[in-house]
């Protein structure tokens, strides 16, 4: 496991901070002097998972690089809600160009810094799932195969949310979006479509690929720190629940992310050069139903008539992940 797990100390390393731990062992987010890469006043919805994810990643990267960091952002929720002209919520060097070209721009920034002999300054490219798995995907694959010195972060909220909740290549089966409505013959997004970019990134055999969620801060911060220790193309895929698009209560954003991993639907792991090197085991396993029924986008699985057939298919996906990654295996401590 990337993160040093603290076994006891009341909350161990589950909570953000812990007064009983040595300050050096505490999280970046518990630090009163953290960067706050994206600060107050941004226009993200109440309970936005992406705003939280971006701050977690960039604050950790700022600490890991000693503040020598350039961020390139694709178009998407994160860009729209953080920079409505003439305001900006960013407190890091931040650059936006187009929806589809963020990996290419990030690669360009890295190349320019190399040309100027400033390889001490590191580059992060970031986008939502639309900018990563769909629109920016060609540029991203190019960044991977050239092994450009960029950490690319995808904040995956499983759809095009700020334009009105349209389906993306990361939208899961059976989820309702405005382009995958619920009808008699079509209960939301189709099974058998979509892609999981962490696998594609691994297929490029780049130095580092990892998944994480905003429900496990210590793990996420450790993965950013690990990524910044490496050079070359690196990819981090962060699950960030969206209260608007998923139809969840604003207060439940963290809980939803936690349930996504605890049911097995979202595997949390690390890979180097195409090989899985570590997985986060499930702590308290729950059936997928626990995760699904809190989300309006899955309501049609439960009412007006309960669709046990579809719930079983989703459960099968979770079970397959559990088997594939060994999410329930006992780990040696």
């Amino acid at each position: 496991m990337a993160v040093q797990r603290v076994k006891f100390y009341q909350t161990g390393s589950f909570a953000v901070g812990n007064r009983l731990l040595d300050p050096a062992m505490r999280s970046v987010q518990s630090d009163a002097t953290r960067t706050n890469a994206i600060t107050s006043g941004h226009r993200a919805c109440r309970g936005c998972g992406e705003a939280l994810g971006a701050r977690y990643v960039l604050d950790a990267a700022m600490r890991a690089t000693g503040g020598k960091l350039v961020t390139v952002n694709a178009t998407g929720c994160l860009e729209v809600f953080s920079t409505p002209y003439p305001e900006s919520a960013w407190q890091v060097a931040w650059l936006h160009s187009l929806f589809g070209n963020a990996p290419a721009v990030a690669a360009g920034v890295a190349a320019a810094l190399r040309a100027k002999g400033r390889t001490d300054i590191r580059v992060i490219g970031q986008a939502g799932d639309g900018g990563t798995v769909d629109i920016g995907f060609g540029c991203l694959s190019g960044l991977f195969e050239r092994d450009d010195d960029v950490l690319f972060v995808c904040y995956d909220n499983q759809g095009y949310m700020n334009t009105g909740v349209q389906r993306s290549g990361a939208t899961p089966p059976a989820a309702r979006t405005t382009t995958t409505p619920v009808e008699e013959q079509a209960p939301g997004n189709r099974f058998g479509q979509g892609k999981f970019v962490p696998f594609i990134a691994m297929a490029h055999e780049i130095p580092y690929v990892a998944t994480a969620t905003i429900a496990d801060l210590r793990d996420l911060e450790a993965k950013v720190e690990r990524a910044m220790q490496l050079r070359g193309a690196r990819y981090l895929h962060v699950l960030v629940p969206c209260p608007l698009g998923w139809g969840t209560d604003a207060s439940e954003t963290i809980r939803i992310a936690r349930l996504a991993t605890e049911c097995g639907l979202f595997p949390v792991f690390e890979a180097e050069r195409g090989e899985v090197t570590d997985v986060n085991p499930i702590r308290h396993r729950v059936p997928v139903e626990e995760y699904l029924r809190r989300q309006v986008r899955y309501r049609h699985l439960f009412e007006p008539t309960r669709r046990d057939d579809l719930i079983a298919r989703i459960q099968a996906r979770a079970d397959a992940n559990i088997l594939r990654f060994g999410l329930l295996d006992e780990k040696e401590s």
Binding site: Q10, R19, L20, S30, R43, A51, P86
Partner: protein, 547 residues
Amino acid sequence: MAEPSAIPLPFAITLSAATSRSNHTGAWRTERPVYVDLLPPCVNACPAGENVQRWLYHAEERDHEAAWRELMRDNPFPAIMGRVCYHPCQTACNRASLDEAVGINAVERFLGDEALRQGWTVTPPESASGYRVLIVGAGPAGLSAAYHLRLLGHDVVVRDASPQAGGMMRYGIPTYRLPRDILDLELARLLDLGIVLELGRRVDDLPTEMADGGFDAAFLGIGAQLARRAYLPAGDSARILDALGVLRTVADGGAPLLGRRVVVYGGGNTAMDVARTARRLGSTDTLVIYRRTREKMPAADVEVEEALAEGVRIRWLSTIAYAGDGAVVVERMRLDEAGRPEPTGEFEQLPADSVVLAIGQDIDQSILSDVDGISVVDGLVQVGPDFMTGRAGVFAGGDVATNDRTVTSAVGQGKRAARQIDAWLRGQVMAAQQPRRLATADRLNPWYYSDAPAAVRPQLDAARRASTFDEVVQGLDETTAVYEARRCLSCGNCFECDNCYGMCPDNAVIKLGPGQRYTIDLNYCKGCGICAAECPCGAIDMVPEET
């Protein structure tokens, strides 16, 4: 909407950093988070009113002295309490719904013992109030009252008829539960505060003693010293004793003649104590006879379990119909619809060298008989909510005034009475405490607590226990005590885990520094409620905004 920056921006920079802060997103809010401090269930359940959660908080940080001092604000006997208390705090503990209750009593004992090892003391105030208070009875209620009155600056004199102080802590509780060196050390520390103790000094005429001694108030903590006798048909040669007498004889170093086969009649803690004592005195066959079921037994579960482990047998739903020479006749009972025991007419003869009655205790009313205003109803001295009897300036608490009959309850009553006496002496009225909302288990977010099963206190081997008066339950070492303290969930009170600070998507939680907790920046808080949902201990409420 903010105006574009008046300061010219550098080349290629279009937006200034953090200009979003001019957009006060707090206007979106329909609910606001509010930090609350709720009443933890352990504190709610503690008969002595200890701030359990607070002293555990210090123990978690290994600041044992601060923990002990917090404890001493409410209870002068942590080492005793850590041995004899039946810990209703642990019964109430929310952690039981996760794995097992926090071993509060074990930590208390560790702190109490640590204080004795380190010689920690408390100091009474330098300024004297000028008031004098007479305490009648040097048991847990009287000594607790004396302690708190002394710390409030009063002159305190304690009088007790017995040759040694401690009351039931000395003459009732067997040494295998409370070693006398521990009792003596904690009593000595208490008396060192400048409390005058007069032993062998029975108070028969309270008004005269108060007038002669110049006392402004008195506290009656005389306990319930008289063993209750039930009418029991018995033969001339039957050997019938009472439990208090047996325990007192043993406490004085004697060995009452009980014989090999001992029958104890009763189902309370005293019955368990005397049965376990009988085992240690050589009884090979110790039988407790109780007329109702195990569930209805007033004895604490731990006492019953320890007694059974030591080989004491218990016969529920039975009464003694006749006690004869070397035998008792027992009648089987059954419960009627209302749950009351009723006789069945089925009899059985059991061998018994002696019968020990443990069917309750009454207060000695002789001291009260000539005192105007003090009334006794159903065997208890009647007091008001301020612990004052019908006679002005005379207060009472402990076994003499309640049927709780535990050391912890007596200590709590002594404390509360002392504070009332203090207020009365100074001509003040104590403000009624605002009831605090209870921190219930459903408010917790248990995900964040580490999995940690309870530490178990080592116990003396049951076989050895039955033959010696050595202490049965052993203490925790420092590491284990700290571990156990850290199992506390801090129900309903912020313990600064930083979850709210770290998980606010709008950076609207301001961290005020160690011990200072947090505040909400309402300019930016959108009221999403993540902080409240992810607070491990349920210390944040979401409150609707007024529209």
